[in-house]
Symmetry: C2
Subunit: 430 residues, 2 copies
C-alpha cells in the first residue's frame, strides 16, 4: 500500500548532524519509504554558507533563505538542526503556520520554549518531535512519554553530557586533575574550545528541564533547574569517593518529592556507588536511569552526541512524523496536565559527603557534631585523620534537606576550630 | 479536549500481571485519562477460577466466558495476559474480528504466530502491541521499531531471561555449580518448579525470534532460532572465563551477516568481556545491547519479569493503542518488507574458547594445531597445562564459522592424543 507521491522534507542546517541526516535519507531511501509507507524527498536545505561543497547534496536544493523554505507550503516535515534559540524558534513557528510538522534536535530551544512551540504545533494539528535533543541517539523521550505512559516516574538520574563524563572518567581512572583531563578532552575533540556550556552544566540543565517536564507531566522551566558545574571537582574528591566505594559523575536529577506533591530538577556533580549501573558509564557515553512505580529501575545507555547518533534519533522521529502525516494523525503532544509545583533546591533531600580541615585537638569532633545536630542533619559516619597539628574530618550524613545542609555548613565555617570546608559533595543513587 | 465516553478494556487473564494491570487502571485512572485524552474503563475480566477473591475488581465484571467477552462488540481494547498459544490465539483473532485492538504480553504466541496475527489486525484496521512480551518493563520493541526506524540495526545481543541470568550470576560470584545455583533460584522464586523453558533457552528463543523480526524487518520463525541451554555450564567454565577477563551469560543474539544479505538468530551461553556493558547485568535483571549503523551502541536495561514491571509495559501499550483508537489511526504494524533469508547456525561466524584434555607428551600441540588449520580455523591463543601425565589445552580461535568449528571438533575427537573435549564456548561482544 505504498503511496507514490513523496513526503517533502526541508532540512534547516547542514553541519555535522544535518549532512548525516541528508546522507542517510539518500542511502537508505528504500528502507525509509518501506517503513513510512511513502517515499521521502529532500526538498530543500537551508545553510549559512552556500558555497561549501556538500557531498551527495544536489546544489539546486541548497538555499540561504530558510524562511522562504519553511513558507513554501508544500513541505510536510521541517527538520531543524541549526541549534540555538533564534532563528530556530521563528523558523519552527513559521513551519507550523505553513502546515509542516517539525523534528528538532534543539535542546536549548526546547528547554526554553517547549511549551509555546507545542502550543503552536497543536493549534495547527502538527507534530513536534525532538528525541535528538536529549542524549543523542539514546531512545529516551519516546520511552518516557510513550512506553512509560501507564506508569508513574519518580526519579530520573542521567549522565546527559558526554564531555563532562569523559573528563570525570579520565580523572577517576588516571588520577588526573580537572585541568589535565579537560586538556585531553579538548585535544581529542570531546570538549569545545570554550567548554563553559558543558563543564558548568548549562547543557545538562537544558536536558534536565526537558526530561523533568516529560517525566512528571509538568512544565519545568530552565530557570527552575538548579545548576552547579564540575570544575571544582578535584583528584582529592575522587580519592574520597573511592574510599566510600563510589565514583563521581555530573548528574541531571529530576525527582518527585516523597509526598508526590512537587518536583525538583538539578544538575551537579555527585558521588554514586560503584555498584550503581550509572557508575560504569565510561568515556563520552550517556546513560539515563529511570525509577518508576511499576517498572522499577530502567537504564538507557548509548552515545550522547556526534553526527551519526544524533542523525539516527532525528530519522527515527522523521519516520514517526511522516507516518502520522500519512494517517492524518498526530503523536503525543505536550503533556503538562499534572502541573505540579517545582520546588527550589533548598527542599531537595539527599545525603552529603563533607570534608573539613580542622584543628587537631580534643573536642573538635564534639563541636562539629553539635552543629550538625542543631541543624537537624543526622550523621551517618565520621572519619578523622590527623597530621602535624592539622586534621581532616570526613562526615557523611543521612538524608537531609539542602537548606539544612547549607545552614550546617555556614555554622561550621564560623567555628574557630574549623579551618576550612574542603569539599561538599552530594551522594546519590543509593 | 477530554472525551467523556470511556474506552472499554477487556482483560483476559487475572494472574500476577493481569491483577496488577487492573489495579493500576483503577488507582491511576485520572492519570491514564489525561494521557489518553479519554477515560478508560475495565469492562470485563475473563478468568478460569471465578470464585477466587480479587481485591479491587468488581465481581460483576468477572466472567469465565472469554469468548463472549471479546465478541461483545463494544470493547475497544483487549488486554491478553493469559500466555500460551491457545486459547490466546483464537481469542485475539476473535477480538480483531469484533473491532478491538489488542495488547498482549504473550511471547510464545507472538514468536509462533506473530505474522498471522498482524495480518488479521491489519485486515480489521486495528493495533497489535506487545512490548511486555520481550524483557518485561524494558522499553525495547517501541525503541526498535520506532526510535530506530531511520537506522539500520546490525546486531542485537540480549540477556532476556532473568532466571538464567540469576543462576549464572550466582555461579560467577560465588563459584557455585549449576545445580546449587538453580536450587537457590528455585528457593527464592526466580526459577519455576520445572525450569526447562528457562534453562534450556526456549523462553529466550521466543524472544530472539520476536526481536530479530523487528530489528531486521524480516519474518524470523521460532524454528529459525538456534537454541542451546545453559545446564552444561560448569564452575570450571567460569574459571576459564575469568582467566580471559570474561564472564558467561546466556545470550539471545540476532545478527545481520557481514554482507548484509542474510540474518541469524540464536540462543546459547557465551563468554563476554567484563568490560562489555552486558557483563555487569546482575541478578534477575535483563538487558539488551543493540548495534546499529548510525546510533552505534545502545543498551536497554531493567527488570525482565514480574507482575508490576510487566504491567508497566502493558499499560504503556494500552495508552498508545487507546490514543490510536481516538484518532482513528493505527501504530506501526508488522514490518517484514526486507524479507531477508534466515541462515542456519552453521553460517554464524564468531570466536570460540575450547578446552581439551590431552595426553601430556611432545607433539600434541602440533597435532591439534594442524587439525584447526586443516578446517580453516585460525588460532588466536593456546594455553597448555600439564599435570600427572595428563594435560589440558585451552584454545581461543579467531572468527570462524560454526560449521568449520564443528568440523574441527569432530576431527579433534578422533585424535588418539585428545582424551576429550571438556568444553566449547562461544566468545561474543568484542
Amino acid at each position: 500500500m505504498m503511496r507514490t507521491r513523496p513526503l517533502k522534507v526541508a532540512l534547516l542546517g547542514c553541519g555535522v548532524v544535518g549532512s548525516e541526516v541528508a546522507r542517510i535519507m539518500t542511502t537508505h531511501a528504500a528502507d525509509l519509504a518501506a517503513r513510512i509507507g511513502a517515499p521521502v524527498e529532500l526538498a530543500g536545505v537551508a545553510v549559512r554558507r552556500p558555497d561549501k561543497v556538500r557531498e551527495g547534496i544536489d546544489p539546486a536544493l541548497v538555499t540561504t533563505d530558510a524562511t522562504a523554505l519553511v513558507k513554501r507550503g508544500d513541505i510536510d516535515v521541517v527538520v531543524e538542526v541549526i541549534g540555538g534559540v533564534e532563528p530556530a524558534r521563528t523558523l519552527i513557528t513559521t513551519a507550523f503556520e505553513h502546515g509542516a510538522s517539525v523534528v528538532s534536535a534543539n535542546k536549548a530551544l526546547l528547554a526554553q520554549d517547549g511549551a509555546a512551540l507545542h502550543a503552536v504545533a497543536e493549534e495547527h494539528g502538527r507534530d513536534l518531535y525532538y528525541e535528538a535533543a536529549v542524549a543523542g541517539a539514546i531512545p529516551l523521550i519516546r520511552p518516557l512519554r510513550e512506553s512509560l505512559a501507564g506508569d508513574k516516574v519518580n526519579r530520573v538520574l542521567g549522565i546527559v553530557n558526554g564531555t563532562t563524563n569523559f573528563i570525570l572518567d579520565k580523572m577517576d581512572s588516571t588520577g588526573a586533575g580537572y585541568q589535565e583531563a579537560l586538556d585531553e578532552a579538548t585535544a581529542l575533540g570531546y570538549a569545545e574550545a570554550d567548554p563553559t556550556a558543558d563543564v558548568e552544566g548549562f547543557d545538562a540543565a537544558a536536558k534536565a528541564a526537558i526530561l523533568a517536564g516529560i517525566a512528571f507531566h509538568t512544565r519545568v522551566r530552565l530557570d527552575d533547574v538548579y545548576r552547579e558545574g564540575m570544575t571544582e571537582v578535584t583528584a582529592a574528591d575522587f580519592a574520597s569517593a573511592k574510599e566510600m566505594g563510589c565514583t563521581i559523575k555530573l548528574l541531571a536529577i529530576c525527582e518527585r518529592a516523597a509526598d508526590g506533591g512537587s518536583v525538583t530538577a538539578r544538575v551537579h556533580p555527585a558521588m554514586i556507588p560503584l555498584t550503581h549501573p550509572l557508575a560504569s558509564v565510561r568515556g563520552a557515553y550517556n546513560a539515563v536511569f529511570v525509577e518508576s512505580d511499576a517498572a522499577g529501575q530502567l537504564m538507557f545507555y548509548g552515545p550522547g552526541a556526534g553526527g551519526s547518533p544524533t542523525a539516527s534519533a532525528v530519522l527515527g522521529d522523521l519516520v514517526a512524523v511522516c507516518r502520522n502525516r500519512l494517517s492524518d494523525a498526530t503523536g503525543p503532544g505536550e503533556s503538562a496536565y499534572a502541573a505540579l509545583p517545582v520546588s527550589s533546591m533548598g527542599e531537595v533531600v539527599t545525603r552529603y559527603h563533607i570534608s573539613l580541615d580542622v584543628a587537631d585537638k580534643p573536642g573538635v569532633l564534639a563541636q562539629v557534631a553539635t552543629v550538625f545536630a542543631e541543624h537537624g542533619v543526622s550523621i551517618d559516619t565520621v572519619r578523622q585523620q590527623g597530621k602535624d597539628g592539622e586534621a581532616s574530618l570526613v562526615v557523611v550524613t543521612h538524608r537531609a534537606s539542602d537548606a539544612s545542609l547549607t545552614g550546617t555548613v555556614e555554622a561550621l565555617r564560623k567555628l574557630d576550630t574549623v579551618r576550612g570546608v574542603a569539599s561538599i559533595m552530594r551522594v546519590e543513587g543509593e
